[in-house]
Subunit: 196 residues, 2 copies
């Protein structure tokens, strides 16, 4: 269920970087609002990285970019810090109802997630199945497990159900992915909660 979020009007949304970021992606806006909530409440400092741009023609006197193109990101979209831990993730929506195609994530982004995990990060992907209105947290550990053990190029919904964690869409924060992280990485008891 989508709730509107009029109470967020106090937040300085105009500070959200890059108009491109607000080009109507529901999940992206949800995550931006969530990260803003975390920052305002001094819970975590996680930001979306600006979209990389390849500049071709710039009038530096005016600070005006006259010709440029979208570039391939070298890393993931989001990173930051929570409880002393480095957080790093990529978020994607899919219109499919039964699987998520790995082609949505660049191979070097997956390598990046694995690299930072190996160095102690909490890294993961967030995938929303738009048609189902279900949003999943999938750790890089499980993502790696899938890639190593399955020949398929897309992850079935059932894999998310079995190895991922559903992120409930709430009023505020919208997409409380830190709740999942608390349970998976900071000793919270996931199964008790799920019974409620």
């Amino acid at each position: 269920m989508r709730l509107n979020y009029t109470n967020f009007s106090n937040m300085n949304l105009s500070k959200t970087k890059s108009n491109y970021a607000n080009r109507g992606l529901g999940l992206e806006n949800d995550i931006n609002l969530t990260n803003e909530y975390y920052r305002i409440n001094d819970i975590a400092y996680v930001y979306k990285k600006p979209t990389p741009i390849k500049l071709v023609n710039v009038d530096y006197k005016l600070g005006k970019i006259k010709e440029a193109y979208f570039d391939t990101p070298s890393t993931t979209d989001y990173n930051g810090i929570y409880k002393g831990k480095y957080i790093d993730f990529e978020a994607k929506e899919t219109k499919l109802k039964t699987s998520f195609s790995l082609s949505n994530i660049h191979e070097h982004q997956i390598k990046h997630l694995i690299n930072v995990k190996r160095h102690g990060a909490i890294s993961f992907i967030i995938v929303r199945f738009v048609a189902l209105n279900e949003t999943y947290f999938l750790s890089t550990e499980k993502l790696e497990y899938f890639i190593k053990n399955y020949p398929r190029k897309s992850i079935p919904l059932n894999f998310f159900k079995e190895y991922g964690k559903i992120i409930k869409v709430k009023y505020s924060p919208r997409i409380d992915y830190l709740e999942v992280i608390n349970k998976l990485y900071f000793g919270g008891n996931y199964h008790d909660e799920e019974k409620n």
Copy 2:
């Protein structure tokens, strides 16, 4: 002393994001090369964030940006992970010989450095005095100490000499700021080294 770095030709420098990033800032290029060295050698994963751009006119069919402007960054330029710790810093050059003006760093960037430090990050600034060819590491702790105790709007070179650490410019990696971090945060003995 500046060394040229022809041996870096094997590195895929073309992958460095954003032409703007390569617009001739010596310190910025040195840090990009250093971060690339760290990644290639699986030491740390630290990236420069893309420059934020405010899009005004975009042809999404062609992926072509026809009008856009440079935006104010909401955070610092560099972040990543080293030995399980979240790393976050801003880097600036100054042409002045005796002080570094704090106006070079946005107030919200300083707040960001303080916020992430409070949550367990290793955060700092790197300042190069171009005319002296000296590059300093100054922790956010010391930066905060300066701001709280000095009415001045610029940090004297002597403050860097006393409370910062000099980063030697080497052949490879160019600007080995992790050497300073090893000593300050991972039990290395700084003073012994300095006597050598």
